[in-house]
Subunit: 318 residues, 2 copies
């Protein structure tokens, strides 16, 4: 059978590169998701996931993550967790418990200690520098408003046996209130998967994305017979319009979705990159540029785009 | 226009009695939900909500709550929060922020302090006695398994202007892992409301109820034209069946739902009480007894049932 992975943002590429070979060799979807996201959490230059993620208002890195098994709907998630090297590993372990699947704050860290998961100081020198700089700006008269940076890695995998899994991981909004949780650990909002249908994962402004569980709704649309492209189009854009009418403002919304044959689609209202790999396609980064709402132009990332990205994330923080 | 309230369990009756008169006088739905749930949080004899709620594995009361405004989809929620007199007040306040709408653990308490919300030690002498007793049982060789008591109050209100709101509040599973969060603060899973359509709220085993966002799906079914009874029947029971097939075990699932005309319905797979009040009906408790899956017999609670309930919740803890 087919195998495939898709993940949000350019950073997902590193994860797909790391985990796709195992799927080719018959590895299971859950392992691929965990391996892919751990790779991204460990990489110090992605400033919104795992080590090197941007801290909250107090200068502390607090992370959200989730894991869901599409065979049996088992899921685990953590919110506002500190000093855990790999939140995705913790989420997956939690998904295997009968109860207590979602843990937040200090209780989640206690569980990690009970299960001997590695602790790690997650604030990198680069992230600390960014935080110091932001605090200086605020002291010079700026209001403490959350920075509009909130890139979550969401990763879907389909394995050769037909199983699917999804995971998410993020440090959330830069300068967020202590304890703030976004959509990433919320089932239906940040992720959803059913191996008999397909899955979806989200990235964007969690506070707006949790106003309707679009990841679930995308999967439900496929369950009712829509193809993956129709499922995302008929789900995401109508709600973005409705939210604008009803609440007056709309944050960033981006989704990746994949059916249980490995067909994929995305929806976004901002420039959005994502990575895909499958039995025919080596891991590849695409860039999606939205036009009027619901129209998106998707092209493979050029070498110039990829080079500029890497230079940007690795540039010295001044 | 019409006005109406519906809430989960017998405890909801106290809330409907407290808040329905304000709706009759033209009060707004959000105020009614807040007032109703505060009444229940403050009552010391309900052992699963607010003061007097049952503690976690460490003997600490940790609470989950949410509030959603059906006009604009603004929502706020807290998870694993300690020492806050009224989590529903905190949730509603959070729903009015542009970001940082969902806060967990110590960060949520910080926000409460910043906004001068009252602190309160939430462990009652009765709850402490129950916890001590459980710990003794565990010491005598019992495994520390979460007690199957997890009654959430979920409350829906429709006001004369056609606005709807929903709120939830719970202390969650007795003896839960520190930091455990159930479905109650999760949008779509524990609650959902759209004033142009209707709303729903959930109570049961959160870990299973978050495996599909049924509160959202109930509202979505009404959005697509189903009446409220059909919406709950076609949503809840098929998933209970599917979860049994796919995961082998199914916890307790109970839902109340109401459309934007005040028509209501419930679905449950266990004996379940709820309270309703509207312009024609003074606040009334009903008891639902499930037969084969999807068949539920609903009757007004008899005086004998109500008396036995009150005697049970107020009985001395030995």
């Amino acid at each position: 059978m087919k195998y495939a992975m898709i993940g949000t943002w350019r950073m997902a590429q590193d994860g797909v590169v790391a985990a796709l070979p195992s799927l080719a060799q018959g590895g299971i979807a859950g392992d691929a998701v965990e391996q892919a996201i751990m790779t991204i959490e460990d990489y110090p230059y992605f400033k919104s996931v795992g080590y090197g993620g941007l801290p909250n208002e107090h200068g502390i890195v607090e992370m959200d993550s989730a894991f869901m098994n599409g065979d049996n709907f088992q899921l685990g998630a953590v919110g506002g967790v500190r000093n855990i090297a790999n939140p995705i590993k913790l989420s997956r372990l939690l998904s295997q418990q009968r109860v207590n699947n979602v843990l937040v704050g200090a209780g989640a860290e206690e569980f990690a200690d009970e299960h001997l998961l590695p602790r790690k100081g997650m604030l990198s020198a680069r992230a600390k520098k960014r935080w110091d700089k932001k605090v200086d700006q605020v002291k010079q008269g700026g209001r403490l408003t959350p920075y509009d940076g909130h890139d979550t890695v969401g990763m879907l995998a389909l394995d050769r046996s037909g199983s699917m899994a999804v995971g998410t991981s993020t440090s959330g909004l830069f300068m967020k209130h202590a304890g703030r949780v976004g959509d990433s650990p919320l089932a239906g909002n940040g992720f959803y998967v059913d191996s008999q249908v397909g899955g979806a994962a989200a990235t964007g402004l969690g506070e707006d994305m949790m106003k309707r569980p679009l990841c679930f709704e995308i999967v439900q649309a496929m369950e009712r017979g829509a193809n993956v492209q129709t499922a995302v189009d008929q789900t995401v854009y109508p709600f973005i319009e409705k939210l604008g009418q009803r609440n007056g403002q709309v944050g960033e919304f981006s989704y990746v979705a994949m059916d249980n044959q490995g067909n994929y689609a995305i929806a976004t209202n901002v420039e959005f990159s994502f990575a895909v790999g499958n039995e025919y396609l080596k891991p590849t980064v695409y860039v999606a540029i939205p036009g009027e709402l619901g129209k998106v132009e998707i092209k493979p990332a050029t070498q110039a785009w990829l080079d500029a990205y890497l230079a940007r994330v690795q540039a010295e923080v001044k």
